[in-house]
């Protein structure tokens, strides 16, 4: 039995301790934001935030993140609502600025990697609200276990969406 704290909700999960977090999120908790891309921490499609840091859930044993604060793509709106102290009613209709920007900029093509891209963007903007182009490129290339890879080649659209999200976040709620 492992106790997980995902998107502000406690879950007691029956899974062997070495089960990668990804399979528990997808198969046991029906949290389908993170995707299986490589199982090798080489692409970033499976990323989640653990205590605010991007982590590759495909190689993270579930027991190693017991009782830590885990945020998936599904939890980004509530994460923003909490940070901005939005009312319940406001929160219901508000996506995280990163998600808003991803839609405004029409960033995804197939979209399969974009979970990890949005998680990485959130991690970046929470620590650096106004990143330069070089800092954005560095974050998506060098800050994780591997670069966050996009096979459709949406890097330009991701950069524009990160910059757009930064302006939304600067304005606040």
């Amino acid at each position: 039995m492992v106790t997980l704290n995902v998107n502000g909700v406690r879950h007691d999960v029956e899974a062997p301790d070495d089960t990668p977090l990804l399979y528990v999120l997808r198969n046991d908790l029906q949290l389908i934001g993170p995707q299986f891309g490589c199982g090798l921490a080489q692409c970033g499609a499976c990323s989640v935030l653990v205590e605010g840091k991007e982590v590759r859930s495909c190689i993270t044993p579930v027991a190693s993140v017991a009782n830590q604060e885990i945020t998936t793509l599904e939890g980004l709106p509530a994460r923003w609502a909490k940070q901005e102290s939005l009312s319940v009613e406001e929160a219901k209709n508000t996506l995280h600025p990163v998600q808003q920007a991803w839609i405004e900029e029409q960033t995804p093509q197939c979209g399969f990697c974009q979970n990890g891209m949005m998680i990485k963007a959130t991690e970046l903007l929470e620590s650096n609200p106004n990143p330069t182009l070089a800092q954005i490129k560095d974050a998506f290339t060098n800050s994780g276990p591997s670069p966050n890879l996009c096979r459709c080649g949406t890097y330009v659209a991701i950069i524009e969406a990160v910059q757009h999200a930064a302006t939304i976040m600067a304005k606040g709620r």
């Binding site: 899974a15 062997p16 070495d18 089960t19 990668p20 399979y23 997808r26 198969n27 029906q30 389908i32 934001g33 995707q35 299986f36 891309g37 490589c38 199982g39 090798l40 080489q42 692409c43 499609a45 998936t72 793509l73 599904e74 709106p77 996506l95 998600q99 991803w102 839609i103 029409q106 960033t107 995804p108 093509q109 197939c110 979209g111 399969f112 990697c113 974009q114 979970n115 949005m118 954005i136 490129k137 560095d138 998506f140 290339t141 060098n142 591997s146 670069p147 966050n148 890879l149 996009c150 096979r151 459709c152 080649g153 949406t154 890097y155 330009v156 659209a157 991701i158 950069i159």
Partner: protein, 784 residues
């Protein structure tokens, strides 16, 4: 210039029938007709009507007009990230029907039991007239007929705006026209639903003149992006059925190994797992995904296969293709532009280029490995939940494998990672394996390939080489151009699970195959340099490498990949044209303009010249250097015509000679598709294609030894990271006078390689005639 409204009209008598008046609701559905095949051309086959397809005698439909004036559209084409079904298709239908974009509230796509026409996730715009456009045009005429009757106003006096039909001071909405009635419009179609191109809507209904478009041309948002970003979309990876089991497949040790003995499960560790063996197909099934993964690893280590070493290995690939492959059995194809007498002109050339260009095998490498859920019911009905570029063709192939008919197979289509052509013949990889395992255990089974399965056991974009001979005359013009393209067969649609299990499949590529399974290498790069007097283009085809030697008949299976075949032919042509400009002492971009007459060719070249800041001069640059640690800059250009769209690309690069590294600092692409339907969507497609093009040019090379594929993850098969990408500039040339819209998703990935190679030559004075231009290869070249 002709516009669509001036095209010949041949309506082929669509019929509108009124079933009954009903008390509430009401609908106009547009189905397809098999009632009037005598109206079709004599060679038109009557489309088969299958159970579990949309029944053309009932409410089978392309388009539904509802009493609240909302509209639903259906298409067999399944989105793979291009966005066309959610943006362009809505815009096309909205303009044909004269309704706002927002009126089209629902797009149903891909599911074989809910969509009418089949075909694949390619050529969405159908040469300017996709099926959905004609279906909408027929629907518009039917709505005008209804309104004419209802309002008592002649059809010619009616006009429509925002779904309101008006004439002689009276008006009525589409919703009110269909209210309380069940109306069915039948339209003529032809074709084979489960073929790669599916059904085609026949006839030439009158279409909206381009000058009256109000929805086309605007950047409406793609609705599926919103649901994916918010984690609200159900992907194929998310499908979970009651009682579903997880499976992994233990694929053979090599691309020619047969099974000696399957390992058994260590029940002390994996008490709930089981092994299923069918011929050479070994599957491991467990109730949980993690147990399936671990049990499959354990079973794999205990499974014995025969050894096989029947491949040349990548180091000998081009020697094998040149000297050992059989190019004689497959007929040589000839280009449509062939003319004059290139041979004698080349024999007496003032200046001459003779060169060979080589392209590596590449993987489609979707960011998520292939997966599928299959549920084979006790009555033999097969449900497949998957992400596939051609669900109807998959349906036919699964039926063939099971020796049944397609009506027993339903393919449910969901979003997934881009395949870039790999599954457009129906074969993504895991579907057939899932079906066989589900059949064996009588329960739904989910097969997920791991990254290494996806790299080693999927198809690839074929390697190729081309021999070019080119003559320059005393005036610096191309006097003769001769190219011989060599490429193994490109479209192996066989289901790999069926091959391994020894079950029926489509034929392996062969010289007598139809246009899909043939080993023939067609000329697929339209000639754009009209003034060249002597031209010979020839295509040479052969079997896939290892296909005949492999006891499994597998070898290196190939499949079309974004800009298929044309990339393999355009890269050598465009690099050779840049080299020809150097021979002629001319600027490579102006040289192209000087060899063109088509104004759209000249238009994209001038646009890309202006937008990129191109400096007009011959290559190489006067101070070109091929040594040292200081980056030196160069620029190159390329040109392509594909799917009625003209493309030009300039790449500006920095080369560091001693490291052999190339950074593309700026890519500029000018695109003239005729009418731009959705500028934002097109821009994003082109940007993505440009990045993939840099990837093809600099990074991608599938490597293999004598037994199989050795590049099996993102380390051994790298693609660019964000830091590897410089500025991407897209210039959209909206050209409404063309009167139609060309494709925008293919081509941009095939433009960079030849432009970067030309830029490398510009910077260093050395020509690299091989892809990819990886640092070790560039270093070796620069040392020569």
């Amino acid at each position: 210039m002709a516009t669509m409204s001036e095209r010949p009209q041949n309506v082929l008598a669509p019929t509108l029938s009124r079933r009954q008046f009903i008390k509430a609701g009401g609908i106009l559905v547009v189905g397809f007709s098999v009632a009037g095949p005598e109206l079709l051309k004599a060679d038109t086959a009557k489309p088969a009507v299958l159970k579990n397809s949309l029944d053309p005698t009932l409410g089978s439909s392309w388009i539904e007009v509802h009493p609240d004036s909302t509209i639903l559209i259906r298409t067999g084409k399944n989105d793979f990230g291009q966005g066309s079904t959610f943006t362009a298709y809505r815009q096309i239908v909205a303009d044909e029907l004269s309704v706002p974009f927002e009126a089209i509230t629902t797009v149903v796509q891909g599911h074989t039991d809910q969509t009418p026409d089949g075909s694949g996730a390619f050529d969405f715009l159908g040469g300017g007239t996709p099926n959905i456009r004609k279906a909408a045009a027929y629907t518009y005429q039917a709505l005008l007929d209804l309104a004419s009757e209802k309002l008592g106003v002649p059809k010619a006096k009616l006009s429509v705006k925002d779904g309101i039909v008006s004439g002689n001071g009276k008006s009525i909405s589409y919703g009110d026209l269909v209210k309380n009635q069940q109306l069915k419009l039948t339209i003529p179609v032809k074709g084979d639903l489960t073929s790669i191109i599916g059904l085609t809507v026949e006839g030439n209904p009158p279409m909206k003149p381009v000058s009256e478009y109000t929805v086309i041309g605007k950047s409406f948002k793609n609705s599926v992006i919103s649901s994916k970003v918010a984690a609200k979309e159900t992907w194929a990876t998310d499908v979970r059925l009651p009682g579903m089991l997880h499976a992994r497949v233990v694929h053979p040790k090599t691309l020619g190994s047969t099974l000696v003995s399957a390992g058994s499960v260590d029940k002390s560790k994996f008490p709930h797992s089981q092994v299923i063996v069918k011929g050479n197909l070994v599957g491991v099934i467990a109730p949980t995904e993690w147990e399936a993964i671990l049990a499959a690893e354990q079973v794999a280590s205990a499974t014995k296969w025969t050894e096989w070493k029947g491949l040349p290995g990548n180091a000998k690939l081009y020697q094998h293709l040149r000297d050992e492959a059989d190019w004689k059995t497959t007929p040589v194809t000839k280009g449509e532009a062939n003319k004059g007498d290139a041979a004698s002109t080349l024999a007496s050339a003032h200046k001459k280029l003779s060169a060979t260009y080589q392209l590596a095998y590449m993987k489609h490498a979707p960011i998520g490995p292939t997966m599928a859920v299959a549920d084979v019911k006790a009555d033999g009905t097969v449900h497949i939940y998957t992400h596939n570029q051609n669900p109807q063709e998959l349906r036919g192939e699964i039926a063939m494998m099971l020796r049944t008919t397609p009506d027993h197979v339903i393919v449910h289509a969901y979003p997934g990672p881009g395949h870039y052509g790999r599954s457009n013949g129906g074969n993504a990889g895991a579907e057939d394996e899932a079906v066989l395992l589900s059949q064996a255990v009588g329960k739904p089974v989910r097969v997920q390939w791991m990254r290494a399965d996806d790299m080693r056991w999927s198809t690839q974009s074929p390697a190729a080489f081309s021999d070019v001979q080119l003559a320059i005359d005393e005036k610096g013009k191309i006097a003769a151009y001769q190219i011989d393209h060599y490429m193994p067969a490109m479209q192996d649609d066989r289901l790999i699970g069926a091959v391994l299990a020894g079950l029926p499949t489509m034929p392996a590529p062969n010289p007598k195959g139809d246009f899909i399974s043939s080993t023939a290498n067609g000329i697929s790069d339209p000639w754009v340099y009209a003034p060249v007097p002597n031209v010979i283009e020839r295509g040479h085809g052969t079997f896939q490498v290892g296909q005949q030697a492999s006891p499994l008949a597998v070898g290196l299976r190939d499949h079309s990949m974004r800009t298929p075949g044309q990339f393999q032919q355009n890269y050598p042509r465009e690099l050779a044209i840049s080299e020809a400009a150097t021979l002629a002492g001319a600027d490579a971009l102006q040289f192209r303009i000087d060899h063109a007459t088509e104004e759209r060719v000249i238009g994209v070249l001038k646009a890309v010249r202006d937008a990129s800041g191109w400096d007009t001069r011959p290559s190489p640059r006067p101070d070109a250097v091929s040594t040292g640690s200081t980056p030196i800059r160069g620029r190159g250009v390329s040109l392509m015509f594909r799917n009625q769209t003209y493309w030009a690309c300039v790449c500006q690069i920095a080369v560091t000679p001693d490291k052999g590294t190339i950074m593309v600092e700026k890519s500029t692409i000018a695109v003239d598709p005729g009418i731009v339907i959705n500028p934002m969507q097109l821009k994003r497609n082109v940007e993505g294609g440009a990045v993939m093009g840099i990837s093809h040019a600099l990074f991608e090379e599938m490597l293999f030894d004598e037994s199989g594929i050795t590049t099996d993850d993102w380390i051994s098969y790298p693609i660019p990271s964000m830091a590897d990408i410089g500025e991407i500039k897209v210039v959209l040339l909206n050209n409404p006078k063309v009167g139609t819209y060309g494709g925008g998703s293919e081509a941009p990935n095939a433009l960079a390689a030849s432009a970067i190679a030309a830029a490398l030559h510009d910077a260093t004075g050395k020509v690299m005639r091989r892809l990819p231009m990886k640092p070790p290869y560039v270093q070796a070249l620069l040392k020569t």
